[in-house]
């Protein structure tokens, strides 16, 4: 039984809608469904297997391909010179500051020493927020006064880590939009000054199609090595994970699943793929 494009059309259309309804961006859905249509057309279907089942199996495989296996942070730290410098980037309100605190707690739990750089010197209450988190997690935070140069703060954080033989520097930055050239230039300067080993881009699971645009822009402006997808506890199927990874081809390091320090899980593709297509 050779599958024609017509045979799989209905099945594909149904899956297309499911992906769209679960926040997979249109451009990612187009590309993925297009690939599946191309791969399946002209292939042989085993007698007894339904077309729906074949298409579904192929989709799961394609999604797993896109998502990859995640990013092993502790593995990275173990194989690199200390201090390992990690810079967190992203647009406003996605959960960067909270993620820095969660990652600090996670690393501390795994036996690493951490210092936090309070790199948001712009937003009201940012220093206070980061300091409170750092105190609760029990790690040192380096901060300057409100309005200071963020590059200087993060440079100091790295120097502090060197002087005190700290394993990891986690650098927070102010939220900013990719269409603000001056702010993206500032971020590029921060990167040049602090020379991070890892640039971690943070976005939220409930973001729609804009997640594609901004992931692309941030990757183009300062580069991205790994992604943290926050707010995955918001009743969402995590389609944004597919959109982002499909767009920039970088792995997801953690999923944020709540507002507590323990609400962070190392990424594995199975949960998302089964939720989406299950």
């Amino acid at each position: 039984l050779v599958l024609t494009e017509k045979d799989i059309a209905d099945s594909l259309e149904e899956l297309e809608l499911i992906l769209l309804e679960n926040d997979v961006a249109l451009s990612a859905v187009d590309a993925i469904v297009g690939t599946i249509r191309h791969d399946l057309t002209g292939t042989h279907r085993k007698i007894g297997s339904s077309i729906d089942a074949v298409v579904e199996k192929t989709l799961k495989h394609a999604l797993r391909d896109v998502l990859g296996e995640g990013f092993d942070l502790t593995g990275y730290i173990d194989s690199h010179d200390r201090p390992v410098r990690v810079l967190f980037t992203g647009v406003n309100g996605t959960g960067k500051t909270t993620t820095v605190a969660k990652v600090a707690a996670y690393l501390k739990e795994h036996g690493y020493s951490v210092v936090i750089g309070s790199g948001d010197t712009f937003r009201a209450g940012a220093n206070e927020q980061m300091k409170t988190h750092a105190d609760r997690v029990g790690v040192k935070v380096i901060r300057h006064q409100h309005g200071a140069d963020p590059s200087a703060v993060l440079f100091d954080a790295v120097e502090y880590a060197r002087a005190h033989k700290i394993d990891v520097v986690l650098a927070d930055t102010a939220g900013r939009f990719h269409n603000r050239a001056n702010l993206m230039n500032q971020l590029e300067k921060i990167r040049r000054v602090m020379k991070p080993d890892l640039v971690v881009y943070v976005d939220e699971a409930v973001a729609g199609n804009d997640a594609v645009i901004r992931a692309d822009e941030f990757n183009a402006a300062v580069g991205t090595d790994a992604v943290v997808l926050t707010k995955a506890d918001m009743d969402t199927k995590g389609g944004a994970a597919i959109s982002i990874v499909h767009t920039i081809g970088k792995p997801i390091m953690f999923l944020g699943v709540g507002q507590g320090y323990g609400d962070i899980i190392p990424f594995s593709p199975d949960r998302i793929v089964d939720d989406l297509v299950g």
Binding site: D23, G239, Q259
Partner: protein, 286 residues
């Protein structure tokens, strides 16, 4: 005013006086893609395209109007009908309860609103009822100090009900009171219970839902939960200075049977604009 995809599709209808089914199909397909990319709810996009296609094929263009203009008018009318009424802003005594998802922009918008009412000559006070987020009171106080607006909060206290009661008493001399609350989402039952209580305690005259312009398909379900809990009567879209189109706001408006009150267009206190349906729709389609 239209995105290139829609412009090309409309071109195919230009100069025609008779409805061309193929051209209409193509236009509707392009419209669907534009709306999906703008984060309009999938089911809503499907329903909209059905009604637009039906009207385009069944309704006669008015005398003297080309097919292209006629179809464009239908698309526009269908979208405008979704926007709901442009919500009125009352310029008198009122208590506004702010609600929304984590990180949507409530605290920043609370300060912007205080500035708006202040400029209209109304004595305004703000209550920080966010007892959870570290630095929440500092953040709101800092913003309010910039514009000389009284900001009531009780750092260290974890009872939001008490803060609202005390804040209302403390700020009794003000005409407008705005209450900032912590972020919460549909699955956090204890937090939904909290905002139900705060709504009762505050005797809020308005309950506004703050949503991020980039919110995707979750907009409908989240808006629905907030509406079930406290009867939302206004929607504010923040971060419209980014590149997101705000399609989720259409769902928020239809779920809450309310309208869009204000748009947040930047990080500073002055970055608040009244909602303009025409501008919103052309951005949605662009």
């Amino acid at each position: 005013r239209l995105g290139s995809g829609l412009k090309d599709a409309l071109k195919k209808l230009a100069g025609k006086t008779v409805i061309d089914k193929v051209a209409v199909d193509e236009l509707v397909r392009d419209l669907q893609r534009a709306l999906l990319q703008a984060d309009v709810n999938v089911k809503l996009v499907m329903a909209l395209s059905q009604s637009i296609k039906k009207r385009a094929l069944e309704e006669e263009p008015p005398k003297g109007m080309g097919v292209r203009e006629h179809v464009l008018r239908i698309v526009y009318e269908e979208l405008v009908s979704l926007m709901g009424q442009s919500a009125e802003v009352h310029l008198g005594p009122q208590t506004i309860l702010m609600a929304g998802l984590q990180g949507s922009g409530k605290t920043t918008t609370t300060a912007k609103l205080a500035r708006y009412f202040q400029r209209k000559g109304l004595r305004t006070g703000v209550i920080c009822a966010d007892i959870f987020r570290p630095g929440a009171y500092d953040q709101l106080l800092h913003l309010c100090r910039q514009i000389n607006i009284p900001c009531y909060g009780e750092p260290g206290v974890t009872d939001a009900d008490q803060i609202v009661k005390n804040g209302l008493a403390e700020l009794a001399g003000n005409e407008v009171i705005i209450i900032d609350t912590q972020g919460r989402h549909a699955l956090e039952d204890n937090l939904i219970d909290e905002i139900v209580r705060l709504n009762v305690i505050s005797k809020a005259t308005h309950r506004w839902l703050v949503i991020d312009a980039a919110l995707g398909q979750q907009a409908r379900d989240q808006a629905r939960r907030f509406h079930e809990a406290i009867s939302i009567d206004g929607v504010l879209i923040t971060k419209m200075d980014g590149t997101a189109k705000g399609g989720g706001a259409l769902s928020a408006v239809s779920e809450t049977k309310s309208g869009i009150v204000f748009i947040g267009s930047g990080e500073t206190i002055e970055d608040l604009e009244r909602f303009d349906p025409n501008g919103f729709i052309s951005r949605l389609l662009g």
